[in-house]
Amino acid sequence: MTDEQATQKGERDLLGAYAGFVSRLIAFVIDLLVVTATITTITIVGNFVLDALDNMFGFIPAEAVTSWVMVTIISIVSLGFYLIYFIGLWMMAGQTLGKWVVGVRIVRTNGERMKFRTAVVRLVGYWISAILFLGYLWVLVDNRRQGLHDKLAGTFVVYSWPEDPKHTEILQKRAQRFRERRSSRSQS
C-alpha cells in the first residue's frame, strides 16, 4: 500500500516520516504570527515604559534622543526574542510553537538533535530561502522534503506525532452518524 492510499484510509504511520509542505507552511505562518504579535507588544510596552520614565524622571531630554533610545532598545529586545524563539526552541525541543501545533520536528540528518551552529545556519538559510520563496518551494519536489535551509544546515523535518487510533475511530463514527442521518432524511 502506498503512502497516499494509506493516507486516504487513515492508516498511515506518520511518526518520523518526512513532513510535507502544507504542514510546514502552516507552522511557519503560526510562528510568524507569534513573533509579530510579540514584537508589536514589545514595541508598545517599550514605548509606554519610556514615556513613563520620561514623565517621572525627565532623564531623556530631547525628543530625538527619546526616539533613538527607544528604537535601539526595542530593536535589541525584538531581535533577542526572535533569536531565542527560533534558535532556542529549535535547540531545546526541535520545534517552535507553530511546529508543535502541526506536529513536526527538526532533526539533523545524522539523527542527532539541533546544535547551536546548525540552528544559526538554518535561521540564516531561512532568509536565503525567502529569495523568491524558491528555497521553501523546494520542499515540494525534494525527495526528503528538504528546503534550501534544511540542505544548508543538514537537517530534515519529520512528523512528531503518531496518528491516534482513537481519533480515527471518532472520525469514522462521526461519518457513520452523518450517513445515517442523511439516509433517514432522504427517506422521510
Binding site: 518520523g16 519529520v158 496518528e163 491516534d164
Partner: protein, 288 residues
C-alpha cells in the same frame, strides 16, 4: 439577566399564571382590591379584529415597558458598578494630556462639559427648592382657603370642589396603581420572553447535528479534551493536505511518487534525542 423569580412570585399572582406559557399575562391575577379594573387582556373572540389588534398593541406596550424597566435597572446597576470601580481606582481613566498640548476647541469642549455638569447640579438643587417652596405655598394657600370657605355661605361650593378633588385623587391613585401593575406585568413578561427565546435558541442548537456531533465526541472521549481534538484535527487536515498537494505536483512534474522513494530513517521511531528526562534518568542511573 435579572432573575425573574422576583416577578413571578408576586403576592397576588396565581400559580396557574406562572405556569402558563407566553403570552399569558397575569393581568387578572394582580387585580387591585377596591380599584376599578383597568384594561384587561382577556380572551377576545376572533371575529373582532379591531379588539385583537388592540390586544396586540397592549401586549407589545407591556413588553416594551418590561424591557425598559428590567434593562434600565440592569444598565443603572452596571453604571453604578463601573463608577464605583473608577472611584476606587482612578488610574483606570485614560491618562490626562499635557495642558500645553490642548487646542482651543478642546478647551471649549471641556468648558461645555463642565457647565453641563454644574448646570445639572444647579437644576437638581433648584428643583428640590422649588418643590419645597411649592409645598409650603400650597399648604399656606389651602389653609387660607379652608378658613375662608368654612362658612355656611361657601359650604355648597366647597363641597362640590372637595368632591371633584376626591374624584381626581381617586383617578390619580388608580392610574398610579395601574402603572405599577403594568410595570410588574411588563417585568414578568420581559423575563418570560427572554427565557422563552433562550430556550428556543438552546433547542435549536440542540437539534443542530454538527453541535450534537461535537457534544457526542466530547462526552465519548473525555480523556482527550477539546484542545486535543482540535489539534488532532488540524494535524490530520494538514497531513492529508501535505500528501495531496505533493502528489498532484509530483504527477505534474512527472517525478516519482513518494512511495517509490526511500522512507525516512526515523520512520516509526520516537524522537528521543529531545527527551531530557530520559537522558537525565540514564545519567543518574549511570552515576549511581
Amino acid at each position: 439577566m435579572r432573575d425573574t423569580s422576583e416577578t413571578t412570585s408576586l403576592p397576588n399572582q396565581a400559580d396557574d399564571v406562572r405556569d402558563t406559557p407566553m403570552p399569558a399575562i397575569p393581568t387578572e391575577a394582580v387585580a387591585i382590591e377596591g380599584a376599578r379594573q383597568p384594561s384587561k387582556v382577556t380572551a377576545i373572540p376572533p371575529d373582532q379584529p379591531a379588539a385583537l389588534e388592540f390586544e396586540r398593541l397592549q401586549l407589545v406596550t407591556r413588553l416594551l415597558v418590561g424591557f425598559l424597566a428590567v434593562g434600565g435597572d440592569e444598565l443603572f446597576q452596571w453604571l453604578r458598578e463601573f463608577q464605583q470601580e473608577i472611584d476606587s481606582n482612578p488610574s483606570l481613566l485614560p491618562a490626562r494630556r499635557q495642558a500645553k498640548d490642548e487646542t482651543e476647541l478642546e478647551l471649549l469642549r471641556y468648558l461645555t462639559i463642565g457647565l453641563l455638569v454644574r448646570g445639572e447640579k444647579a437644576i437638581a438643587r433648584g428643583v428640590s427648592r422649588g418643590f419645597r417652596l411649592s409645598a409650603n405655598a400650597t399648604g399656606w394657600a389651602l389653609g387660607t382657603l379652608n378658613r375662608l370657605t368654612d362658612n355656611r355661605l361657601a359650604r355648597p361650593f366647597r363641597q362640590r370642589v372637595e368632591r371633584r378633588f376626591r374624584d381626581w385623587e381617586q383617578e390619580t391613585d388608580l392610574i398610579i396603581r395601574e402603572g405599577r401593575r403594568e410595570e410588574r406585568s411588563g417585568r414578568w413578561l420581559a423575563g418570560q420572553t427572554v427565557n422563552e427565546i433562550t430556550n428556543t435558541i438552546m433547542d435549536s442548537l440542540a437539534d443542530n447535528p454538527a453541535l450534537d456531533d461535537l457534544i457526542q465526541d466530547m462526552i465519548g472521549q473525555q480523556s482527550v479534551g477539546l484542545a486535543g481534538v482540535v489539534m488532532d484535527n488540524t494535524r490530520q487536515v494538514t497531513t492529508t493536505a501535505d500528501y495531496v498537494v505533493e502528489g498532484v505536483l509530483r504527477r505534474l512534474l512527472r517525478r516519482p511518487s513518494r512511495q517509490a522513494l526511500p522512507p525516512s530513517p526515523l520512520k516509526g521511531k520516537p524522537q528521543e534525542m529531545y527527551q531530557y528526562e530520559d537522558k537525565l534518568d540514564r545519567t543518574v542511573q549511570d552515576d549511581g
